[in-house]
Symmetry: C2
Subunit: 227 residues, 2 copies
DNA sequence: TCTGGCGGTTGACCAAAATCAATTCCATCG
DNA sequence: CGATGGAATTGATTTTGGTCAACCGCCAGA
């Protein structure tokens, strides 16, 4: 793991599109960016563990990070898989506390680390930054609730169908997409074992879903929607 | 359903202890309260459906409300059971949007309804109110993530044991509590069918958990902790 | 070209919990 | 006091998905 203060052009562009940056003007964004450094992670590097004292919140610039919790018994469950543009642990801005889950890089990952104490000072001077963070928190809350509802009500093929429908580019009745990550990452995102994802895909073959590596084709969006 | 502008003493006390009110001074709390009216709900009354235009966010004063989502096929899953002091739908303050889930009273329920547009105006004058709401959002996000992790990693008896341990009053090695609501509500909270909750309780008998109606006794907290 | 390793798939098996049905418990009301 | 209806429990069955193991295909490196 390696820390530098510099953003390259691509990284700056990803950061600018993050939820908590999108609605800020140039000066505000610059002030916020000044609280951050860039962190390069090796694969499987642990950013922090549940219970660690929280000093930073993060925004993914490239790669993937998994957020997870432990069970007393070595078992662990993924809560979220963060992609470029996603932020996490901003919920700790509200108070000096500890991380409530662990975070681990899944491959080579690049992140912006925002110093929470510095950001907290900014909030008083620049209330719009607080609103932007509130916006980001709201979106996270909604998507986490949706995830929970999905877990409680949808079967594996339904979750996969839902993912495909919300991420594909439609082209008349057909649609297609290319997974930006390996299938085992998708499985984690959906809260499934890799085997279950594989079986879900083969169950969806009868609904017109064709999988070749990371390339996925949907022959009839309407059929898929009523899975 | 009946709407009035008045709070009685007990209701005002519950409201004052809500997450998004707790850290405000008198003037701030009063300004926020001025955005609210009181709503009395009949059992099973639907406050709003997923997709409705959002005008209010809510704080429970008494009774219980379930938040739920539909699946295309009449199936539905509970996302959260709100108790007195809980707020919900504050995430819609950040933008004029639609409710992302339905809300239904479970019995006679009393709620404070905050007019979102009015609150949004307040935020600019009183930045500390924004912080208080951010705090509430953060807490909701964390508890929703914990719920998700629990769903993905804990069996029914583990979830029940966890609930008991986080809600009981300890008394040396033993502990006890009285459920504030019927068991079917607890089942919904934990994402279980009522039958599964019942079976979980009987599985916990061997771990020293005694259930008589809503009264629950734990003979050895340590034993329960390592379920 | 062979080989090792990894991601992915498939099959067999098992555990957990949803579902359906029947029954019991209990509180309230006549 | 018995009758009634909702909540809770119990049993039987089914569905779902986790787990373990074997296997396939593909790519990289010797």
């Amino acid at each position: 793991m390696n820390r530098t203060p510099t953003f390259d052009g691509h990284e700056a562009a990803v950061l600018a599109k993050a939820d908590f940056m999108a609605e800020l003007d140039h000066g505000e964004a610059e002030a916020l960016r000044a609280c951050a450094t860039v962190l390069l992670c090796d694969p499987h590097a642990v950013l922090f563990e549940e219970g660690d004292k929280a000093a930073y919140f993060y925004c993914m610039l490239s790669g993937y990070v998994r957020l997870y919790r432990h069970n007393g018994n070595g078992r662990q469950a993924d809560i979220r898989i963060c992609e470029p543009g996603d932020s996490f642990a901003e919920c700790l801005i509200h108070a000096d506390e500890t991380y409530r889950y662990g975070a681990q890089a899944m491959d080579h990952a690049v992140l912006a680390c925002f110093h929470i104490a510095k950001v907290r000072l900014l909030l008083d001077e620049q209330p719009r930054i607080g609103k932007a963070i509130m916006r980001s928190l709201s979106l996270h809350l909604i998507s986490t609730m949706e995830c929970l509802a999905g877990d409680r009500m949808q079967t594996a093929p339904q979750r996969v169908a839902n993912y495909l429908l919300t991420h594909c580019v439609e082209n008349g009745a057909t649609a297609s997409l290319r997974l930006p990550f390996p299938k085992n990452v998708l499985a984690r995102k959906l809260g499934l074992a890799p085997e279950a994802l594989s079986r879900a895909f083969s169950a969806l073959k009868t609904k017109g879903v064709t999988v070749r590596g990371r390339a996925i084709a949907v022959s009839d969006v309407k059929v898929l929607r009523q899975v």
